[in-house]
Every structure is written in structure tokens, then in C-alpha cells.
Symmetry: C2
Subunit: 385 residues, 2 copies
Amino acid sequence: MRGEVTLNRNQLNFSGGPGALPDRVLIQVQEAIANVPEVGLSVLGISHRSDWFAAVVEEVSQNIRRLLDLPENYHVLLLQGGATQQFSMVPMTLLRGKTAPAEYLHTGYWSGKAIPEAVKVGALRTVWDGSGNGFTRLPTDDELAFSPAAPYLHYASNETVEGLQFHRVLGREDVPRVCDMSSDFLSRPCEAERFSLIYAHAQKNIGPAGVTVVLVRDALLAKTRAGTQGGALGNLPGFLDYGSHIAAKSNFNTPPVFAIYVVLLVTRWLLQDMGGLAAMAAKNQAKADLLYQVIDRSDGFYRGRAMARDRSSMNAVFTLPNEALTQQFLAEAMATGMSGLDGHRAVGGLRASLYNGLSLAAVEYLAGFMHDFRRRHASLKPGKR
Amino acid sequence: MRGEVTLNRNQLNFSGGPGALPDRVLIQVQEAIANVPEVGLSVLGISHRSDWFAAVVEEVSQNIRRLLDLPENYHVLLLQGGATQQFSMVPMTLLRGKTAPAEYLHTGYWSGKAIPEAVKVGALRTVWDGSGNGFTRLPTDDELAFSPAAPYLHYASNETVEGLQFHRVLGREDVPRVCDMSSDFLSRPCEAERFSLIYAHAQKNIGPAGVTVVLVRDALLAKTRAGTQGGALGNLPGFLDYGSHIAAKSNFNTPPVFAIYVVLLVTRWLLQDMGGLAAMAAKNQAKADLLYQVIDRSDGFYRGRAMARDRSSMNAVFTLPNEALTQQFLAEAMATGMSGLDGHRAVGGLRASLYNGLSLAAVEYLAGFMHDFRRRHASLKPGKR
């Protein structure tokens, strides 16, 4: 199987993030470093106040609206600071001055990072905590009880470290849903209109590190401002106020022009080359199915970390029988051109991240390698001598 | 004079920022989009947790230390959020819980942006306000009286919009100096060890928009933490706490890998190709001298905005006799390959920004154009018929 398609090392990058970008996009980025065709200047030297850049921001916004069927009553913002900044901006905006606790799900490493930042701002209730089961599964609906009084519900749609992903929308229709979609944004349709606020940094599926997309329903902010006591948002620094960024069309302070331009190229690629999110999701699912099949049919040589029901189509997290084999796997994979397969430092083991930019051919290449690796090493087991 | 050197449009980019980068750097960046030589992957797909990236951060830090002769008791941080984020982080760190007001100079557009963000946090005294003279000059020492009780003094070393630059260090030795050097950082030696905190976004002299350098003296933070009442910093979001970024070696949350890599290439260029900051400063001064000479010897056809004493070596701001000529100047300049010469929207007129990446040859080209433009248009004056 290996060798049929010639893949370069960028195409075999299984990193958990920053993730691989499509070759077609990399080629366009390379051109833009010398010269953005319609401007005649390097993308690194074009003013963020230029008409060209205003058009870039507008097209990114329109492309995201088209990809997600996002209604007009949502703002599309392009900010800095990653999901980490959103861990604070969300409660600073929605929790200050409130008495009822916000509700958070703790389903893994990343949703767990959001919680202490919210605690600094106000009252919080952890609706479900997966730490007791080592974050190997997600809650069922029977295990979840949401309060209608909560200012909002916060959860992460995908946990990159543990390889867990929600395949449904959680929560009540009458409580604003806030979702960290950093690691599966624009990898599949997401029923965006059921959320009040979605945030996602770019560096998994849609661009390089340094820019964060926020989709926020207009009524959420209007309601929040009206609802705060004595102007609870009055002291908020301008750059932490969604309103500043909305008013300035994501140009409140100098935006990361380059990163936003790459997001533009990726959204064009999603629309034009991939044919939209339903097609992208089908491709992503095929990649994940192939990899999980290799794991499931390995007689326990490869073991998936997550319960099958809650497996992520973005991050397949698995282990080998021992650490020596794990290191050998990584070394051999690297020697054949594949990189980024080591698990997150918090859980160890192996992880194959299958973001938008990674092709089915790359996963076939990895699957072939895994078959081969297993055949060679499973046959060395004592019982098989 | 024009035509002797062949300059491309990137080399004739006089934009106020993001500014032109050296061709040598652009070529290396272009290569890195496909493949960072020592890694074999696109710079856009390399993990921020890789050994390679840790080495990049370390080398940037060491290069900045070498360029500025920065002592070991300073931390070098690479953050997101631009100067705007620093407008808030500085007072959140140094002003919370203090009774004596921080002292700020209001010398133009950008120092004026810092003040309202500090006012949200605590007491502030404006030591000098140049708005009365339309920000056409900076204060002399006689006009400045600083309090020894101030938690810190804040000023901007260069005002890009008005073309004003301090050519000396302000303030008392016993009060921490905090300086926004966004628009002249690494354009000249700056006596860094006389400041407690220096911040500068990259997009003028050292890289693309999306990364901000902060130099902070260790004792400043130690003192501040010890001095706060009841842990005034306790509620600070992690990403707004300098301590988080110091502890994590600028990897507290995913850093803007690409932008930091470009800063690495520019600092290497400053050390290896330019020969350090004294040489860079001499070159920048020669560029500015040439341009101001054209202005000063134009019989008032070109008029400099700033008092000669306080002129910026980074941004030459000037006007023409009327708006029609201004528009003609911009159109003709554009037609000959030059861009970015329009003044900031707040003041209008013309502005030539002469950041590190812009060569003397480019300024000679502009000077030749200005001579020529004046000859053609001054001769049309009624008295000369």
C-alpha cells in the first residue's frame, strides 16, 4: 500500500496542532510572502487599514457564514489570544454581576483549562466531571442535568488530548450555549445557530497559530449588557470587550494580518476544493474510520483510549503494549516521513491527528505502516515462537 | 537618480505598519513556508511544543539580549495582543492596589491610547499633554516634573502618527520606567537597562503583526507581587499575568509560531547583516536626514509636521500646499512603485515610514521623486509664470 502515492513530509504531519495545511494553501501562502497578486506587495507588509485587508476580513466572514449556514444575527470576529483568551473573555462578558452559576463540563484537558479562568470571575457549577474515569468517555444525556437559571453552558466539542468528541449538541435551548470548537471547527457542520457563542483558534483545521475565530449571536451581547448591574463591563479593557471588536470589524487593534490571510485561503479551499462542510465531514469520517478499524482489528496490539461511542474524528489516541514499542513506532514512523504521532505530554502514548489538511492518502499510508508494524512485532510475542 | 538601482515594490513600501521587511528575510520566510531546513516541515505545521520551537524562542531571546546589551535580570517575553494588550497588562500588574497615581505622558495618538486603559485600573496623572499644541512637539526637561511616589512612569518613545520621537530617556532613576517602543524597537540602541519594562509589537521594525516583545526586569515583578494588598493580582487571567508567560518561557498558551520565527530571522539579519544596533541606527539616521533635508530645502513646498528637534527617524510626517497636490503626489508615487505614503487617517497629509527593512536606496529613490515632483509643481505657481 505504501509507496503508491508520493506524499511529502508536510502531507504526513499528524501533529496535534499546529496542524498540517493543504498543499494547495501552502503554495498560495508562499506566493503571498513575495507578492499578493492583487496588491503587488508581500502579505507581511500590507497595512491592516488597507481596502485589501478589509476585503479579506469580509470574505473570511462571508466564507464562514456560507460554510456554517450562519444567520445574519451572528457576528464573525477574528481575534488574537487563542482559546485561552476566550476562557477569560467569556465569563468576563457573561458571568460578571450574575448570581446563578455558569455551567461547565469538564471532559478533558482543554475544557479543564477553561474552568479555573471562569472561577476567577464568578460562580460556576461543574455539570459533569470526567476525571474520575480518566477522561476515557463523555457523559450520556442521562448523566446531565442543566439548570434553566444558568447564565450560560460551556463545553468543548472535541478534546484533542484524550481523543473525545461530542457527536451531538448539548444543553437547553433556553440557556446560551458557549462552545470551544478549537479542534473541530469547520471540520464538519455544527448546527451553529443553536449556539450563542462559538470560539476556535485556527491552528488545527483552518490556519496557523495566532488567530481565533469567534461567532457570537448579537442578542447575547445586547442581553448581557442590559443585564449587568451598574455597568459590570465598564472596566473591561477594550481588547477584551467583544463590542470593541464588533464595532471595529475585527480591526480594533492591529490584527494578525498574515494568519487571517491564511484562514481566507483555507476557507476558499473548503468551499471550492472540498465542496463544503458536509463533504469535508464525510472525508474526515472516512479517515477516522480507517484508522479506528486498524486499531479495533489489531487483537489488542493497538488500544484506543476513548470509548468507541465518543471517539474523535480529529484525534485518534491509542497505545501500544509497552513504552519500548511506542518509542520504536515513533522512530520508524519518523524514518518513513511521518511526524507528530507522539501523544500529548499529559497522557503519553500515541496520537494521530486527522485535521482537514490531512488527506485520506496520508491516513492510508499510516494504516499501512500500522499493519506492517504490528505484523512484525506481534509475531515476536513469546506465544508465537 | 531614479532607475540606477532596481527596487521592487516590497522595497519601496513606506507603510506606517505593518512595515517592509528586508528582502533577505522574505526569501527565508518563503522557503520556510514549504520547509524549515532543520525540521523538514512547513513552519505553519510545526508544533509549538517541539524542541525546534523552544530553540527558536531561546535564540530570539538571546539575539535581543545581544542587540540591546540586556542584562540577565530581564525576562524576554513573546506575547500576543500587540501594544494594546500591554496598555492593560501594565496597569493591571503595576497599578492595582496602589494609591499614588501612575504618571503618563500624552505625546500623540499612541500614548493617548494607553491612558484610558490605565484609567480603568487605577489613579493616573498626565505629566504632560501635547494636545494643546496639536502634538507638533515633545516636552523639554524643564516642562516635566515627575513624582518619586509614582508606581511607574509610562511614555511612548516614538509617535508614528505625528512623527515625534524622544532622543533621550525620560524620568527618574528611582521610579520604574515603562516604555512603549512599538515603533522604534531595535531601530537604535535604547539604554534598555534604564527601563523596568519595555514593550513593542513586531510589525514596524522586527516582524509581522501578531507578536509583541516584552522586556521586564525581574525585580519589578517581584516587588509588585510583594507590594499588592491581599493578592491584587490573584484574579488576573493567566494570559494577562507576566508571571505565567515567564514560567512557561513564552509558551503559556499556543504562541504565534510563524510571527516569532520571522522575528528570529530579522534579529539574525540585524546581528549578521547590519552589524548590530549602532550600525542600524546610523543607517536609519542617514535615511531620515536625507528625507528631512529634502523637506527643509523645499522653500516650504514640503512642510514637516514635527518641530525639528523632536523629529522621528522612523516616521517623517509632512504636508504639501493643498489636498489636490497631496493626492497627485500619492498617485504619481504609486505609479513609480512606491506605496504607503499617505498620512495616518487621524492627521492626513503624507508620511514616509523608514523602518529597519527600508533601504537607503529606497529613500534616495523617494527623495529623487520629491525633488522632481516639486520642480514640476512649484514651477506652476502663479508668480513663476
